[in-house]
Subunit: 161 residues, 2 copies
């Protein structure tokens, strides 16, 4: 893959964080993702599970589907995915199936993360595709969005009890 | 879940095999799936990766998305998924995320299967959802469809060389 500069990595992760903020605005778990190809964002997504009532609508899946449509190819070669939180099994599998060469993520998800926390599927040499992984990009901002979101939900629940 | 009779299990797997045959007719890898709710098929899908050029369009994902739309819920409680071949990581993750309680599959996929072959993610007690798995339903028919498909592809490639 083309090596990205630190400035570029920060820029694209900030775009993923913007997507997470869009999710937060509509009361969805604040996770955002973008797919980059030749320096251009060709796919964007934020978690939409409650609005869509479709279990597949995580940020990464939506961004990957949009990128596939843009390139008219299920193979996302020469692309990078930026996502605020460590991908789950579904999203990691989608990353592998789209043959994305590189993933940058923010904070780990100890309960469902399949890239570093519970599994390391993106680097499994038994599969027919391996992914370069960089973690910890703007991780505090990404994690803070999640913490604030769940704290607010708990407070709202207390009020309605 | 409601216990299904052997006849019912055979009937639904035959419907999944029909879906796999639809995929074969249009030169897609022949894998099919159906989602059943209260005895009714509420989601169907066959692999459409080449036609859609979208990495997410495996049989299981399409069947689950259709079932979510039917129930207007991302939670596929009281549902069963029938799929001809062992689900990959993406599809297994989608099954977990939709909280499907039961999966019936035909033949194993030793290269990418995430339910029995490479991983056993549907029964991972660390995740917040576990799935009852039954394998080996009409497995010979499911496997034969795949074998014939890849044999024909190899023969076509030889001819064009």
């Amino acid at each position: 893959m083309n090596k990205l500069t630190e400035e570029e990595i920060t820029f694209y992760m900030n775009e993923a964080i913007k997507e997470a903020e869009f999710a937060k605005m509509i009361d969805e778990v604040p996770i955002g993702a973008v797919v980059v190809h030749d320096g251009q964002i060709i796919g964007r997504g934020h978690n939409l599970r409650e609005h869509s009532q479709d279990a597949t609508t995580h940020a990464e899946v939506l961004a990957i589907t949009e990128a596939c449509a843009f390139l008219n190819s299920w193979r996302l070669w020469d692309c990078q995915l930026f996502v605020t939180i460590e991908p789950c099994l579904m999203c990691s599998g989608t990353i592998i199936n789209s043959q994305l060469p590189a993933v940058f993520f923010g904070a780990r998800d100890p309960k469902a993360g399949a890239v570093r926390s519970l599994y390391t599927v993106l680097e499994d040499s038994r599969l027919n595709h391996q992914v370069e992984v960089v973690e910890g990009i703007q991780s505090e901002q990404a994690a803070q969005l999640m913490k604030t979101f769940f704290k607010e939900i708990r407070q709202r629940r207390k009020k309605t009890k």
